[in-house]
């Protein structure tokens, strides 16, 4: 079957994903573009004997390649892989959406314009002459209603038609003689530089050069010189750079097209959206409503998730029990331990986060599809600007109080790379739920009752303050750069469709399971090996009570030995080898610290409520040491899952390891400083 590859483009909020879902149904596939964190969603369908492969490109206002999203979109539509471009246009925002359309038009490729949300436009009194629009664009224009699946068949007809009709393309917008002359000269120069077969794209590349959309040296020194001259000449003549002059001409083309093809019978308004905003963005009510909503998201994620998590945990415990009991008697050994503790335990550790992630993405999908997410960023922008971030960074930070893993995944809503990286880097400092059992163990052990609440509160506050300081430092050093212009569209409110909400939720959750799962599993197995091997010869534990034997065995393992070796260093923070071993094991997940402390202190597996463990801690350590344990746990990386997810989301081991090492060093320095100063004072 012959295949047609379609690049699906459009502005943000034009209803592109609805069209995509209607086109492909469940036949979708999510991945990442190689080397970047931009998600690549594609799907397929069959139509008139063709297999139509649809690549859903990121929503962009232009393909000038300012951002990763735009670059991905541009490179794809420009590539030979893309046979037909489908441009989804919000019919209610026709003129503004056409800016991207004019750029696509100039690529000289088969083009189908889908006038989406056509039903609303008709209701708003807009009438379009689709045939004429098609003629203007040297392609086909169809009308669609993405969320109801209307016009999808016609859209596919148009794709097949455009693919087969082999049009002669020489699409150009007339930029006026001054610009055209220079374009012509550049086009000539470039067509000599590019590889054979690419000459057709020469005019497009010339446009790129004049608009300063690419590296000026990309097409040879000669072209660079001519382009530079042309830019400064035009600037002298008109007082503006060519890209502004050219944008003016584009808008000229657009308004010509608009006037001849659209008839307005009524003035359009978005009364409903504005009325909702009058309340939700109200000067007095806006922020309280926002915090209420965020609280709801938070609750939904963890309160709905927790019961399911318990079920999953119990399920894995049952599985472990089943494997243990089914294991042939007398054959117990390393393999059993690897399967039960390493693999089942490791997989369980990954899967157990899934309910949180599913509910979180469900909430995010609802907030995004309804249009509220953009409002949240609008409300919080002022505060986040103070630490060099964007309003949208606030949402993942809030999620971070529950769990760092979904919070890091939540940074996908940020489209500016540097602020996204900054947000990812500071997120582990937001005290997550896994640190709570540690605080719950330590605080009652060392501090009088009237200080309990304050100590807990102060741990959270220290985390937040450190996060703010780190964000400021990162924005001034590693992720320096002035904020790009913060222009953000606030889409009209819509009732999210079940289908799109569930599709978004499912795709993101699946990505988590697939990619992070493999990595986390691998590291869990390594950690399991480190806390199990080498084994202590049996005769040495002979005569000990089982709990003492367990402690002796742990000390003998790789983790125990490492902790003993680095004891001189950890001593600076007030940690002996016992705390060190527990902390090493706790790298798998912070909550493991409590259980490990129980083991090293020969008390067996201990829960946070364990009184004997608290007594034991009180005997051995001072309140200062207790505080230092909490401080170190707060600042150091929460768990191995965080490192894995950071690697996945930044697509770079450098960032993942940088974060891990950086936070560990920071935790060491701060804790050691606090401990040393504490000793001096007391």
């Amino acid at each position: 079957m012959e295949q047609i590859t379609v690049g699906l483009t459009g502005n943000p909020n034009c209803g592109k994903s609805c069209v995509f879902n209607s086109l492909t149904g469940a036949k979708q596939h999510v991945g990442n573009y190689p080397g970047v964190t931009v998600e690549k969603v594609e799907g397929w369908c069959e139509h008139k004997g063709y297999r139509i492969r649809i690549v859903d490109l990121p929503g962009t206002y232009s393909i000038s390649a300012h951002s990763m999203d735009e670059k991905v979109a541009r490179d794809f539509v420009l590539s030979d892989e893309c046979d037909v471009i489908v441009n989804v246009i919000d019919s209610n925002n026709f003129e503004r959406n056409l800016f991207l359309t004019t750029q696509l038009f100039e690529l000289n490729k088969p083009l189908v314009a889908a006038l989406n949300m056509y039903d609303v436009a008709t209701k708003n009194g807009l009438e379009y002459d689709k045939e004429k629009i098609g003629t203007f664009l040297n392609g086909t224009a169809v009308s669609t209603v993405g969320n109801k699946g209307e016009g999808i068949k016609e859209l596919l007809d148009a794709v097949v038609y455009e693919h087969n009709c082999r049009r002669e393309f020489d699409n150009r917008i007339n930029y006026g003689s001054d610009i055209e002359e220079r374009l012509e000269r550049l086009t000539c120069l470039i067509s000599k530089e590019v590889t054979a077969g690419d000459e057709k794209k020469a005019r497009y590349h010339a446009l790129q050069l004049l608009q300063m959309d690419c590296d000026i040296n990309e097409f040879g020194e000669n072209a660079a010189k001519v382009a530079q001259e042309a830019i400064s000449e035009l600037n002298r003549m008109y007082g503006d750079n060519p890209h502004i002059l050219m944008a003016e001409k584009r808008y000229g083309f657009i308004s010509g097209l608009f006037e001849q093809t659209v008839r307005k019978t009524v003035e359009i308004r978005h009364d409903a959206s504005d009325a909702i905003d009058k309340i939700l963005l109200n000067r007095v009510l806006g922020l309280p409503i926002f915090f209420g909503m965020m609280y709801l998201v938070f609750k939904l994620t963890f309160w709905l998730g927790d019961p399911v998590m318990t079920v999953i945990e119990n399920g894995f415990d049952l599985l472990k029990g089943f494997v243990n009991s089914a294991w042939p008697a007398g054959a117990e050994g390393p393999l059993q331990s690897l399967i039960v503790d390493g693999i089942i335990g490791g997989v369980g550790g990954v899967v157990v986060f899934l309910p949180n992630i599913i509910f979180l993405f469900l909430a995010i999908a609802v907030l995004e599809d309804s249009g509220y997410m953009a409002r949240a960023a609008f409300l919080m922008d002022r505060i986040m600007k103070k630490i060099g971030l964007h309003g949208q960074s606030f949402i993942p930070m809030l999620i971070g109080f529950g769990c760092t893993v979904p919070a890091i995944m939540g940074t996908r809503i940020l489209n500016e790379r540097r602020s996204r990286l900054t947000t990812i880097m500071i997120l582990p400092l937001i005290s997550c739920g896994a640190r709570l059992p540690i605080y719950a163990l330590i605080i009652p052990a060392f501090f009088p009752k009237h200080l309990h609440g304050f100590m807990m509160w102060s741990m959270y506050v220290i985390g937040i303050l450190l996060a703010i300081i780190l964000a400021k430092v990162l924005r001034k050093t590693l992720f320096k750069g002035k904020n790009t212009v913060m222009l953000m569209e606030l889409p009209p409110y819509r009732v999210p469709t079940l289908r799109s909400v569930f599709t978004h939720m499912w795709q993101k959750s699946w990505l988590y399971l697939k990619k992070a799962g493999t990595l986390i599993l691998a590291i869990s197995i390594i950690l399991w090996a480190m806390t199990s091997y080498p084994k202590l010869p049996e005769e040495q534990t002979a005569g000990m009570v089982p709990k003492q034997a367990q402690a002796a065995e742990l000390k003998h393992t790789a983790a125990g030995r490492i902790a003993t070796t680095i004891e001189p260093a950890t001593k600076l923070m007030g940690f002996d080898y016992k705390i060190g071993t527990a902390l090493l094991g706790a790298f798998a997940a912070k909550e493991v610290f409590v259980a490990q402390m129980g083991i090293v202190n020969s008390l067996g597996d201990a829960g946070a409520e364990s009184k004997p463990l608290r007594e034991k801690l009180k005997e051995q350590y001072t309140p200062l040491q207790g505080f230092c344990i909490m401080l170190f746990c707060l600042i150091s990386t929460p768990c191995v899952a965080t490192v894995a997810i950071c690697r996945k989301e930044t697509q770079s081991w450098a960032f993942a390891m940088g974060q891990f090492i950086g936070l560990t060093v920071l935790a060491f320095v701060i804790t050691a400083a606090v401990y040393q100063m504490g000793i001096l004072i007391t």
């Binding site: 000038s64 409300l379 922008d381 002022r382 222009l487």
Partner: protein, 78 residues
């Protein structure tokens, strides 16, 4: 006057935008350009950013950026 000085609810026409080139592109692509008509809808609760209506779209602009937009107040206001 500057866009930030326009009271909420008023309509104005953009006269000029001064910004670095690569940022100027952003404005123009979104449709914010000389001659465009915008209505200032509201300021965020903390005073920044502001929300304007351009054609049929709602756009949020930080004050530091909106301060670079020179506008003329239109006579008609509704």
């Amino acid at each position: 006057m500057k866009l930030t000085e326009v009271p909420a609810g008023k309509i104005c026409t953009i006269k000029s935008i001064s910004a670095e080139d690569r940022y100027l592109k952003r404005f123009v692509e979104m449709g914010l350009r000389a001659g465009a008509c915008v209505k200032v809808l509201r300021f965020a609760p903390l005073g920044d950013p502001i929300e304007v209506k351009l054609g049929n779209a709602f756009i949020s602009i930080r004050c530091e950026n909106a301060g670079n937009i020179e506008v003329d107040l239109a006579d008609i206001s509704n």
